[in-house]
Point group: C2
């Protein structure tokens, strides 16, 4: 797995230099701002290719079926879509997710939308891509809790419709139905979950796609230095960064708003993966696409209000404070990042019928 | 609520008279069998009207959104679709459902498909229609666990998109957003969940819609007396009947197959509602539409194999035993009852965004 970049210095500098406030509508040079945005961001692609897992219609459809199939959990009650609900923009809108036996997960479930664009997966970047990521929750004892990959494959192999689809989706492989390919199919589906929005129209050349207020919000976003971590096609997802550059996010957040999770320990972030002191409190900078919909915020889902989350980020990452007018404009800008989920992904698949010899679900 | 009919005598007679076995293909008089079937069953309607809750496009769409919305549960994790998953024919394919705090429900979740045709709702018939039924699980502490109807309304009222839809769906009411109307909207959606199948084609006049084997299965179904309880457009759902007419279903089932729920108490059925001795072990005869998909079977979900379930029914309801050939044909016939779920119902709706003042979910 490629080591994620941890950009501290440039981030801090961007923040320290950010002194401007929102420009008024008159002052905004649409074309100049558009060119600047085009150099920092990029329109969402239609899909994200992976040479190691080439997309095909049948593979994506199979991945969709698996994504919606609760039989990928030991209980038969939890599917990928339970925590990455496409009806709510690929998240469950819970601080942290519920799993097998009502276990509470330690981190907020990030959206699957546009996630294939991220340089690494999970908050701590411990998976290289969506295919590797998809292997995790199915076997995690506090998530979907299937005992092991073989058990997952055994369930699927009991259903001839699935076996046939795996053969079609992975035609050149001696063993088309394997746990790796379960995850490859789900990953392929995720690679199609792009959500084009009005900001894309702006980036693609329509200078009038954003209103004056939204443009002013973009200007604040650039001036404040948010773009240091939230750039690229997903406005984020491209780097690991210490959460709490200027002051402890933990203390600042709990000082700033009342948090109802007093007993949750402070999360050491990527340090838990690498045991490298430089990775303490380091998390992936999340994508801001659909950010209005993916509340509550941060890796611990502790903040529900996007204004609060933005203010906390300014304070602990950039050492600044955003005034109310600028905050209003940022909220206007965020609205342009609310995209359209592909219609095919929202069509609930009819799942294959279990057979008499399909291993039975267990809630124990 | 209308008192459900409990037809004991006719049921028993039908069983006692059922001595025939499957006819061979040669012997089947397609036209005669078709006429007989047309007199006992009926094609599914496109939808089921309710004068007290007239259908409209906006009401059905609103009901669909509520059906898929996990915010109708206290945890924010469980929606109607969690236990009545339309990707698996309106059921969760679990013996009994999981609910709030991983509580295990006492009875198998019946399918919502074609349920609006039933004369009463719930296994014990305690609700008159789908509208009354829909009020139950949302507030049931071991299901969705919202404290009360006001709390459910408070959540929904915090989201302007929902408020607007309620006004459109219930335009002539002084209080369009009420708990009754939450259930009315969900009920309206359910009234559209009809699943036309090949048996409908046969009933509508296409005598060749069923194969010889499937027709032979229909003949067994009639000859054995199954039709005594499983008649009408839904092949069931029209009457309450004692489960265990000839012998105790409890003992027979546990004698017949290994049951992995040794500690589950025998369910007294409708007796729990009426305290009428005649209602002991009385349950609603379920619909057989999509019966191949709505495993595991019976009110306690204790039987996974449709052959076993059918044999047990023959034994404890009809005092007969179905031979292997007849059973094969019955399975062929059941296959014709696998219908098509309306495409609109399978389109996952994009749910309104919670607001900062929307009451927060709690898994406690």
């Amino acid at each position: 797995m490629q080591k994620p970049r941890t950009l501290f210095v440039s981030l801090f500098m961007a923040g320290a230099l950010a002194l401007s406030t929102a420009a008024t509508a008159d002052e905004i040079d649409r074309q100049k701002l558009q060119e600047q945005a085009q150099s920092l961001f990029a329109p969402l692609p239609e899909k994200v290719d992976n040479p190691d897992n080439p997309l095909s219609d049948v593979k994506v459809e199979l991945g969709k079926m698996l994504f919606y199939d609760p039989r990928l959990s030991e209980s038969g009650f939890i599917s990928c879509n339970s925590c990455h609900n496409l009806a709510t923009y690929g998240v469950d809108n819970l601080p942290t997710s519920l799993g097998h036996r009502w276990a509470l997960g330690p981190r907020n479930s990030p959206t699957v939308l546009n996630a294939a664009l991220h340089s690494v997966q999970f908050w701590d970047g411990r998976a290289a891509d969506v295919e590797e990521q998809a292997q995790g929750p199915i076997l995690n004892p506090i998530e979907m809790a299937i005992p092991d990959g073989d058990a997952a494959v055994e369930r699927i192999a009991s259903m001839p419709e699935y076996v046939e689809l795996f053969e079609q989706a992975f035609p050149d492989e001696p063993e088309s139905l394997s746990y790796d390919n379960v995850a490859n199919a789900i990953g392929a589906f995720e690679r199609t979950l792009m959500t084009p929005d009005r900001f894309d129209e702006f980036l693609k050349g329509d200078a009038d796609a954003l209103s004056d207020n939204e443009l002013a919000g973009l200007q604040v976003f650039l001036n404040q230095g948010c773009v240091a971590c939230h750039a690229g096609p997903a406005l984020g997802g491209q780097m690991m960064a210490r959460f709490g550059m200027v002051e402890s996010y933990w203390e600042a957040t709990r000082d700033f708003i009342a948090i109802d999770q007093p007993t949750m320990p402070m999360d050491v972030g990527r340090f838990a993966v690498t045991q490298d002191a430089g990775d303490l409190y380091v998390f992936k900078a999340p994508s801001l696409r659909n950010i209005t919909r993916t509340y509550p915020y941060f890796h611990d889902g502790s903040v529900w209000d996007l204004r609060d989350a933005t203010q906390i980020m300014a304070r602990v990452q950039l050492g600044s404070e955003i005034n109310e007018d600028d905050m209003d404009r940022l909220m206007d800008f965020y609205q342009t990042l609310e995209g359209e989920i592909p219609a095919d992904a929202l069509k609930l698949p009819i799942l294959p019928s279990s057979r008499v010899d399909t291993p039975r679900p267990s809630h124990e």
